[in-house]
Every structure is written in structure tokens, then in C-alpha cells.
Amino acid sequence: MEKILEVKNLEQRFDLNKGILDKIKFKNGKFIKEERIVNAVNNISFSIDKGKVFSLVGESGCGKSTTARTIIKLIDPKGGNIRFDGKDITNLTGNEMLKYRKKMQMIFQDPYASLNPRQRVLDILTEPMLFHQVVSSKSEAMEKAFEILKKVGIRSEQATRYPHQFSGGQRQRIGIARALAVEPEFIIADEPVSALDVSIQAQILNLMMDLKEEYNFSYLFIAHDLSVVKHISDDLGVMYLGKIVEKGSKKHIFNNPLHPYTKALFSAVPKLSGTNLKNSKNVQGEIPSAINLPSGCYFHERCPYAKPICSKEMPIEKEVEKGHCVLCHQY
């Protein structure tokens, strides 16, 4: 199977104290240099097959959104490399990236912040088309914009309206239409339905899947909601504190979760049957800070199966069955 995206040993860090003066702190009677670095993404690797949906799941602060933004080069990676369609794009500069920008697009989380309030829907769509010259003239761009809008379920007479005249779900449709405008091969969707009402969520998820069938692109889907992820993905990775602790096919992860954190996530999901919370035990505590990462396995402080080795050594990724990898000393 051909890969659309391969990520190897990707790292991303943010320095909280940017200036040199911020770094110097006065402590215990002397000046010391103190660094406060958020280790958002710590050495992760995964790949996405052409035409498939790969999801990254995890709780807030686990680095899943940062991973997405690093892959699409909104932020330059601090380590590792990213190969898109076989080409290394890790160190490409702005102009060299343009060719790939056309091929990778992004759908954002907040439908209220992701559209320019001062731009008409039509202009939101035609601007990227004209910029990347996917169309030869303005009138062709408009024609194409109407066509895309129809596909995502926005009527053509609504095209000259401004974003504030639409509901959240409709805005998300427009956001999807913008991503489609340049005919991408790969779309990163950063929590595209988490800000929407449930009934609208289902509409948008169906739309995204229909479009995938039609255009045959691949998705990197970022989400915290396991039931949504299960519905949409082929493969997935579970992230915790900037690490992928478990990855595999949907079948692997949902039928046979191995990592204690994955299991904890499953047991925390409220269910309509109303029995999940009552019957299961939950993990204790909260996600530690990404500034001072725990020693050894990042999960050991909350893990019910922690052994002495877990606090000392970071486990190595192990392929338990074909395509199903886990990062835990148990295996």
C-alpha cells in the first residue's frame, strides 16, 4: 500500500521564556538560568496509507493538535522528518512548500473562528483557487465554488452571505468547502465536530465520509471523542503526553486495547446503556505537565499496573501483533 504521509521521530517543543532575560531567575540568593520548555510532541512515528483515515486520539494537552500543525508546517518541526507522498518536506521553506500546500489542507475545530468574518463565502472559496491557479479565470472560480458549495449542502443563493449569517454546522460545511477548493489529496481535520451539537455532528461526519468516497483523499483526523473516532477511522494512534502509546488498526485498538491508558479511556466514555461509569474503575489523577515530564513511562503515575521499572525506563515500542504497536513494559 502506498503511503501518503510518513512521520518519523517527530518532535515539537515550545520555549515559554522566549527572551534571554526571561530565562534568568533569582533563586536562593543567586541568579540561575531556568528553561521552561513545553515538550509537546516527543518522538512520534506513524504513517498513513493512501485513501485511508488515520486518527490521533487523546485528551487535551496530549499534543495531537500540535502534531497536526507541525505536519502541515504551520510550525516548523524541532526534530524528525515528515515525508509527504514520498518526498521529504521537513525543511522546505515557504515558497518550496507551496506545491504541497495545494495538496494538503486542513479543517479546523471552531467554526466560529475558522472563517474570516469580513469575507463573503464566495470569496473564502475563490481566494485559494485563484491563488493556486486551479482555475484559469474568476468566473471559472465562481462556477467551481458554487459546485463545491452544492456538494457540502450550502445553497448557491447563500454564497454571497457573510459567515455570521450561518449556524455552526453550516459554517463547518463552508470550512470543509474551503479545504476542498484546491483539490487536495490529504486533509487534516482538527476536531472538526467537537464544537457542534450531536445531531449536526452526525451530519458533518457523514458529509466528510461521502466526500472521501467521492474524491478519494486521505484524512488525518484529530479527536478526543472515541465513539466519533471509531466511526470514522481505519487506523488510529492513542496519544498521551506527546507520545503515541498505542497504534494499530481500528479492529486492534477497539477489540483488543493493550495499553493501560487506552483501556482507561474506554472505561471513561459515558454510554447510553448507562452502565459504563457505574461498573468500571477509572484512572486516578490528571495528566502531568508537559514542562516537567515524568521519568520513565509518562503514564506510570496514573497506571494501575505500574511496576518499579516503569518509573525508571521509557518502554520501547513493541509490535504485539502485525500492525499493532504498544509502548508499555507489560508486553
Binding site: L74, G94, Q119, H132
Partner: protein
Amino acid sequence: MSIQVETSNKSQEKVNKWKSFLESEFFHNYKKSPTAIIGSIIVIVVLLIAILGPFFTVQNPYDMSNIDLNNAYKPPAWDEGGEAKFFLGTDQQGRDIFSAIVYGSRVSLIIGIAGTFLASAIGIVLGLIAGYFGGKIDAIIMRIADIQLSFPTMLIAIFLMSFIGRGITNILIALSLVGWVRYARTVRGETLSVKKKEFIEATKVIGLPNFKIIFKHVLPNVFTSIIVLSTIQVGSFILTEATLSFLGLGVPVTRPSLGMLCNNGFNVLYSGLWWVSIFPGLYIMIIVFGINLLGDFLRDELNPKLK
């Protein structure tokens, strides 16, 4: 889609825009706010007087051939010895005060408005650059702004004017050099918050060049605060100019502004000719009062942070 459809769409759109403005919350609140209505009436009347005034005045005060020394020292019409023709009286040279105010207000308003445009242009560009790029360029621009803010505005203006000399152009230069700082700070702050929005990230994902992102996507979204700031700024520039001219550092004597007129009358204020400087002074007050009423309303309505 043919071109014709597009144009008919556009005129339709204009009608719709006007309609939606009349139905908007902004217009609704405007109708309910007496201060806003009074403010805008004052501003409109002042503008009309400045534009149409020369058709109604008895003389052109700049044209010396119009002026008759025999008419000098006439008090306002309601005072003893006043003439209906010179409603607000005349000055030492026989110039009609009302005519002088009308012509003077044109100078004051032009300086106030043009100065605001220049100052905002400089401030907006620098603010956008500082806010969008951040880092060193931000630090440099904002430290210059900080240094300038640590001196009183008037002091800098006086210093500049005594350095470059009188004249309308020079006044505009001085005003934009003292006025850009407020724009730069406001615009930078707004830019910092707008640039974190996802729609800006979306333009980067598309790959748009920075200048396009800044002027097409950031600028329109900081525009409301620029409008609010500008209304107040016109008023404050009119005052600054008046002060400078009053001190003899502003406009040339040949084209007196309202501040200059006050200065003219000041010399004779204690000899009983109170009207020569009081009326121009009152008119400055009315203009600035009207502008500020309108500005306050705009600030309350358009500033999302106060809502």
C-alpha cells in the same frame, strides 16, 4: 455565471446591505441613544457649515479687499452698537467674526481629519507589522512608541513645530508623528488576538504570502477599533492644532484656524473685545464635544470587549 448576473447581484447586494444596516442592532441602539444622535447632529451641522458656509458669509476674511477698517470693533448684533450684518461682531481689522469662524473651522477640520488619516496610516502599518511578525521588529517598533509616550504629546508637538516652522503641511507632519503611537499600540494588540484565530491559520495552510494575510485578512478585522479611535482622534487633533496655533506655532497668519482666531482676540480680550476670542473658542468646544459624543457611542457599540 455570466457577468450580467454578477452586476445585478451587486446592486441587489447594496440594497440588501443598506436594509440589513437599518435592521441591525447597531442602528437600533443608535436610534435609542440621545447622545449619539446629538453628537451626530452636531458633527453633520459643523461639516455642513464648513462646506456650505462660504455661500452665506458676508465676506471672505482672507481677502483683504473685502475688509473695511471702518467696520472694526463692532460688538455682536444684540449688544449696543452692533450690526445685524456682523452677527457675532468684528475684530480689530474689521473682519466679520462669523465669517472668520466659518473659514477657520474649515482649516481646523481639514487639519484634524487629514492629520488623523496620516497618523492612522503610519500607526496601522507599524502596528500590523509589529503584531503580526513579533520578535525583534515588534520590540523595536514598540520601544520607540514607549519612548515617545513617556513625553507629553503637546511637548513633542511644540518641539517639532518650533523646529520645522509654521504651516499646514508642517502641522500635519507634527500631528502624524505624535499621533501614530496610539494607533500602533491598538492595532498591534488587536493583531495579536486576530492572528491566533483559526482563519489566519487557514490562510497559512493555503500558503498566502504574509502581506496578503496582513492586509486582506488581519486589517479588515481590526478595522472597527481603528474607526473608534479615529473619531476621538479627530477631536483631539483639532484641539492640539488649536493649542499650537494659539501659541503662535501652528498655521500661518494668512490662513487662521479657530485656535489662531482665539489668539488674535486674546490681545484685546481685556480691552472689552471679548467676542473676538470667545466665539471661536466656543465653536472649538462644540465641535470637539459633538465628535466625542459620537466617539463614545461608537466605542461602546463597536468595541467587543465592553460588551
